[in-house]
């Protein structure tokens, strides 16, 4: 058989296309196949392999495959999914899975996110404000300690009041949004 495209070289590659639910088979030589479907090999398997990759990475990183069967499975008590099911599907069953598998997750996440395992960035309002307040209080307390060490008591008193005010805000639920 010769290539359908250039009609010169022998056909070596079969391309199956699904178009509007119909299957088409095309036969190309290697040269034409490459130019017509340059991204074919790189991407076609991507969605399929995600969970396979997850599974492989995790198992390699953690334990030899044959031991896996003997160990009791880690299971999320909220949705009942095991960690193996998470790895097989490549998806979580519920938000509590993140808590149930907390120890194992960094291993998986760092491979998906360029080595990162912790979130930085936006947080839901109340959550974000509380985090911000906590950090502010920490900073003020540090300044307070320094002020006491160098015996600048007037400044220390001010800082102490500031810390108290921030703490009362935190106790009130961190609702005041314009603390800085």
């Amino acid at each position: 058989m010769i290539c359908e495209n250039c009609k010169q070289r022998p056909a070596k590659v079969t391309v199956t296309q699904v178009h509007n639910g119909e299957h088409f088979e095309r036969h190309y030589c290697e040269v034409c196949a490459n130019s017509l479907h340059p991204f074919y090999v790189e991407y076609k398997h991507d969605p399929l392999s995600l969970h396979q990759l997850l599974s492989n990475w995790f198992n390699h990183a953690d334990q030899p495959v044959h031991q896996k069967q003997n160990r009791p499975q880690l299971v999320c008590d909220e949705c009942g999914w095991s960690i193996q099911r998470f790895l097989d599907e490549g998806k979580f069953g519920c938000a509590s899975c993140y808590t149930s598998f907390r120890k194992q997750l960094p291993n998986v996440l760092k491979r998906l996110h360029n080595g990162n395992t912790s979130h930085v960035g936006k947080a839901p309002g109340a959550f974000g404000e509380k985090l911000k307040l906590k950090k502010q209080i920490e900073a003020v307390r540090l300044q307070l300690k320094e002020a006491i060490e160098v015996e600048r008591f007037e400044e220390a008193a001010k800082l102490r009041d500031e810390a108290r005010e921030l703490e009362s805000k935190l106790a009130a639920g961190g609702d005041e949004t314009h603390v800085d």
Binding site: Q17, V18, H19, N20, E22, S35, H37, P38, F39, Y40, E42, Y43, K44, L50, L54, E78, C79, W81, E89, G90, K91, F92, G93, C94, A95, Y98, T99, R102, L105, V108, L109, L112, H113, N114, G115, N116, T117, S118, H119, V120, G121, K122, A123, P124, G125, F127, L131
Partner: protein, 364 residues
């Protein structure tokens, strides 16, 4: 408001052909994935949970119409015919996953179709903002506003370490996917796309072909988006995408200039042949239509073809798809009927897009 509006009115605001660098960047999309505490993720939840989530998200957003200065309509996916679902998918207003979901789910659409909030897709909430041209920051600001509104009323699943908790670990953290849809004919013609795809993937970004199955870049349209969502704040993700997009724009412009300089006759011939095909062909497959539309678009961008409106081409890219064609025809069509109907519609649309003066000249 009735659903027909969103089905009949082919042009969405993102097709307007405006915005910065709109000759190369067709549209910008921001997507935020969010989930509610207390319910399992859509892969594991029950119909009862699905129903409750749907009700509370829809109610919250519909109540907030005034604050957002946008009017939203809620559409239950189950109420739609298969064809209507396909049309919404082809307009990028819902995903195939939501269209085929057996559980209760819905989409909340703003009247200008720039915002769509999907309920019970892979995550409980998917906020999507689609803007014309390169408008990464603008689209994010809009998505962020809707996110802020929802989070005030609904308890989000969030973890201090992992950030926003999502069904898929590839979205964990910010839950943010920012993408730009780019028309890159010159980089494709000069066979530079492979190299660019490789470089970009090293920078934590992904390039895929849009339209069509799998990875083929039908009509030379590529989607560039961030791959990682964890460990980088939103601003950095957006800034990185902006900078990579600008560099690709630069490379595409260089490639266009090189083509014009070194093979302007061949290029001109090809672009005008495509215009001819679109104007006169009687049978047109999706692939051929996409290729021809891409050529004519390039012809307009580089000033060769002057009398066709870019907006019409953007619309054509959408309505030449199978679902839209059948919506227009008002009946189901098999593949070969579709190819004929597509050719007819493209002919008519292009004639409408040609200014009367030129048309007169052609007739005399």
């Amino acid at each position: 408001m009735s659903i027909e509006r969103f089905l009949d009115n082919s042009p969405s605001s993102w097709m307007a052909g405006i915005g910065e660098h709109s000759d190369i960047v067709m549209s910008t999309r921001i997507r935020l994935a969010r989930n509610l505490n207390g319910y399992r993720f859509p892969l594991a939840f029950t119909e009862d949970e699905a129903h409750k989530i749907d009700q509370s998200v829809s109610a919250t957003l519909l109540d907030a119409n005034e604050d957002l200065h946008k009017h939203f309509s809620s559409i239950q996916i189950k109420d739609l015919s298969e064809l209507s679902r396909q049309v919404l998918v082809e307009k990028h207003l819902i995903s195939p996953k939501l269209a085929n979901s057996p559980m209760t789910g819905s989409v909340l659409l703003s009247d200008d179709e720039s915002v769509s909030v999907m309920v019970n897709e892979e995550d409980h909430i998917r906020i999507q903002c689609l803007f014309p041209g390169l408008q990464i920051q603008e689209a994010y600001t809009q998505a962020d506003a809707i996110d802020g509104l929802l989070e005030k009323e609904l308890p989000y699943a969030f973890d201090e370490q992992f950030g926003y908790l999502t069904s898929c670990p590839t979205n964990t953290g910010t839950g943010l996917r920012a993408s730009v849809m780019m028309h890159l004919p010159a980089l494709t013609m000069t066979k530079q796309m492979n190299r660019i795809v490789t470089i970009i993937s090293r920078l934590g970004m992904v390039v895929r072909g849009i339209y069509g199955e799998g990875s083929e870049a039908l009509g030379n349209v590529y989607q560039v988006s961030n791959q990682t969502t964890l460990g980088k704040p939103e601003e950095d993700i957006l800034a990185d995408l902006q900078s990579i997009t600008e560099q690709i724009i630069q490379k595409e412009r260089e490639a266009r200039n090189a083509l014009l300089k070194h093979s302007s006759n061949t290029l001109e011939d090809r672009l005008y042949r495509s215009l001819g095909t679109l104007s006169y062909a009687r049978i047109m497959t999706t692939d051929e239509a996409a290729t021809c539309l891409s050529d004519v678009r390039l012809g307009i961008d580089i000033g060769l073809i002057k009398d066709v409106d870019v907006t019409i081409l953007n619309e054509c890219m959408v309505f030449m798809q199978p679902g839209f064609l059948q919506q227009y025809a008002g009946t189901t069509l098999n593949a070969s009927e579709r190819d004929m109907f597509r050719a007819k519609l493209l002919r008519e649309r292009l004639q409408m897009g040609v200014t009367p003066k030129t048309k007169g000249e052609e007739l005399t």
